[in-house]
Symmetry: C2
Subunit: 346 residues, 2 copies
C-alpha cells in the first residue's frame, strides 16, 4: 500500500469529493504514441509487448507525460490483455491489426487451458509501478488499471478485436452458464491484480470497460454490473476507484450505485446528462472529444473551457472522452492541459 | 411516385401514426447473408457490387425475405456507397475487409474529382426498384434508402471503414469549410437519389447514419442535423421518412424535431428513453438486440415480447436495433417475426 501522499494530490482529492483549488487533468493514452520520446523508446525494443513487460522501460514511458506535458497524474504503461495472458491465453500484438489470441474460450473444454491468475503472474507490472514511483519522486499520483471483466471476456472469446464482437455476444447468449463462469474467473483475477498494483503503490485504480457499448442495458446489468460490484467491494477502503464504461450511456446510474468514487464519461454524453444520472456523490471524469485536439489553439481553449463549465467546478477530473488519438500534436495536448490548469470557476 | 397502395400497408400506417391491428415488422439486412437463397445468388456473381448493380438479381434478393421470412416490408438491396461512387469516387468491396476507395476527399484539390450526383447515375437502383415492385405484386411496401450525409463523408474522407474515423474527424475539425462544402454536395446528391427512388415506386425511405455515434452532441448538431433537415424538407409530402442515427443517443429529440415520421432506435437505448426523447408524434423503429437472435426459441419469444410491451402498441415498427448478424439462423429470425405478428397488446 502506498504510504506516500503525492505533492500534487488534486486527482485523489477530486476523486474523494473534496474541494480542489482547480480541476485536475490527465489523458487516457497519454503515455503513448503522441510523444516522440515514447516512440523512441518503443523503437528501441522488439515490440509493444516487450515494452509492457520491461519494467524500466514501462516506467520510463509512464513518467514521460508528467515531465513533458505537465499532467496531474501518471498512469502505469501496460495493457488490459495481461490478464487473459496470466489466465493462460497468450496473445500477440500485431502491427496495424491489434491483439491476436491463438486460443479462445468458447466451450467447456476450453476451460481446461485457463485458470484464475495469481498476483505473481504479473510481477513485471508491480515492478514497473515501483520504478515509476521512484522516478516520480512523489510529484503526482500514479494510476493503476485493469480491463473490466466483460471487455476481457470479449477478447478471450473472440480472440481478436472486432466491430461487433458477435462471437463474444453469441457465447453470452448461448452459454450464459459458461459466460458467468468465465466472468467469475476474470473478476477474481482482476481483484488479485488490482490489489497487487495498490500494494505496489498505485494511488487510484481505473477499470476500463471499453466494449460496454455493444451490450443492451439488460445484458449490461446481468453480465457486467455484478462483477464490477465485486471488484469495487473488494477494493473498498484502499484507494479511489474509477469506472469507465465507454458507450454504456444507459449505465451511469448503475455504475454510480457501486462502491466507486469516479465515473468516466465518454464524449458522446453531455456532462449535464452524466451528472443527472450519477447524482452529486460521485466524481465525473472526462470528456473532451479527442477530435477536438485536431483544432487550432483557440478552438481547443474554447472547447476545453466549455467542457469545464459544463461539468462545474466540483467533483470533476478533466480528461478526454476516450484515449487521445495517436496522431495528435503534443503541443495541442499541452494547450488542453494548460487550459484546464489555468481555468478558475467563477 | 408509387400509385399502388400495398395490400399489407401496416408499415406505412404505423409510420404515419395511424392505429394498426398489430405491429409491423422487418429487419435491417434482412436481404442478405442470413438466407442460403441469398448466398446462392451471390455465389453466382463475381461479387457484392455486381449484385448491387444487376437489377434482376438485386430485385430477386430483395423479395426473398418477403417470401421466406414473412416480413411486412421489403427494403431494396443496395449499398449506401453508391452515392460516393456516383459523385466520382469509385470503391471496391474487399472480402472480409469492407469497402476501399482509391481516392479520398481531404483538401481543396480533391474537389476537382467529385461532383453532385445526377439521378441518372444510379439508374440500376431505380430499375431494381421497378422490378421488385413487379415481383412483389403489391403484397408489401418497398423501402428505399440512402446513407446520411455524415456517414457518407466518413467514407469519402477516410477511404475505408475505421474504428474511430479519425481522418474524417480531423477533416471536419480542421477544414469545417470543406466539410460543409462536401456535406452540401452529398446532401444534394442524396435528395436527388431518394426522390428518384420514390419516383420509381419506393413507399418509404430510410436514411442510415451508421457512424453518428462517433460525434459529440455539439458536432452532430452542427454537421448532421442541418443536412438531415434539408433531406426531410425536400421529401416533405411524398413518402414517410425514417431517420436512424446509430449510437447518437443524445440526438433523438433533435431528429424528432425534423420533418420525419419515424426515428430508429438502437439496442443500447431503452424504448422508454427513446419515447421520452421523441415525444408522442413520431413513430419509433427497433430495437431488439441482434444478439438476442442467438438465443433459443423461448428466449427469443420473451425478448421480443418484452420489447413490444416496452414500446407500447402505438407508433412502433418492430425491427432489430441494428442489422441482423450474418450468422443468425433464419429459423430464429422467423421466431422473432412470428412473435411480433401474433402479439396483441392488451
Amino acid at each position: 500500500m502506498s504510504l506516500q501522499k503525492p505533492e500534487n494530490d488534486l486527482l485523489l482529492r477530486a476523486a474523494r469529493g473534496e474541494r480542489t483549488e482547480r480541476t485536475p487533468v490527465w489523458l487516457m493514452r497519454q503515455a503513448g504514441r503522441i510523444l516522440p520520446e515514447y516512440r523512441a523508446v518503443r523503437a528501441s525494443l522488439s515490440g509493444f509487448k516487450e515494452l509492457v513487460e520491461t519494467p524500466e522501460k514501462a516506467a520510463e514511458v509512464t513518467i514521460q507525460p508528467v515531465d513533458l506535458l505537465g499532467v496531474d497524474a501518471a498512469i502505469i504503461f501496460s495493457d488490459i490483455l495481461v490478464i487473459p495472458e496470466a489466465m493462460g491465453l497468450p496473445y500477440e500484438m500485431v502491427e496495424k491489426r491489434g491483439p491476436l489470441f491463438r486460443d479462445t474460450v468458447r466451450d467447456e473444454r476450453d476451460f481446461d487451458r485457463i485458470r484464475t491468475a495469481k498476483a505473481e503472474d504479473l510481477g513485471y507490472v508491480y515492478e514497473a509501478i515501483r520504478l515509476t514511483l521512484d522516478g516520480l519522486g512523489g510529484r503526482v499520483p500514479l494510476i493503476g488499471f485493469a480491463g473490466a471483466p466483460f471487455t476481457i471476456l470479449c477478447y478471450m472469446t473472440e480472440g481478436s478485436g472486432s466491430k461487433t464482437f458477435s462471437t463474444a455476444r453469441k457465447f453470452i447468449v448461448q452459454r450464459p452458464d459458461l459466460a458467468h463462469r468465465l466472468m467469475d474467473m476474470i473478476t477474481e483475477s482482476t481483484i488479485v491484480y488490482l490489489r497487487a498494483q495498490i500494494d505496489a503503490g498505485a494511488h487510484l485504480v481505473q477499470v476500463f470497460d471499453s466494449w460496454a457499448g455493444i451490450l443492451s442495458p439488460a445484458d449490461y446489468r446481468t453480465f457486467c454490473i455484478p462483477y464490477l460490484k465485486r471488484i469495487c467491494d473488494a477494493l473498498n477502503g484502499t484507494v479511489p476507484v474509477t469506472l469507465f464504461s465507454k458507450g454504456a450511456h444507459y449505465s451511469y446510474a448503475d455504475l454510480a450505485a457501486l462502491n466507486c468514487h469516479t465515473v468516466g464519461v465518454d464524449w458522446n454524453t453531455p456532462p449535464e446528462a452524466a451528472r443527472q444520472a450519477v447524482g452529486p456523490n460521485r466524481t465525473l471524469q472526462g470528456n473532451l472529444d479527442p477530435a477536438a485536439l485536431y483544432g487550432n489553439g483557440k478552438e481547443i481553449v474554447k472547447a476545453t473551457t466549455d467542457m469545464l463549465r459544463a461539468f462545474g467546478g466540483h467533483r470533476h477530473i478533466a480528461n478526454l472522452g476516450h484515449g487521445v488519438y495517436p496522431d495528435t500534436s503534443p503541443e495541442h495536448v499541452k494547450i488542453f492541459i494548460d487550459t484546464v490548469k489555468s481555468f478558475r470557476h467563477e
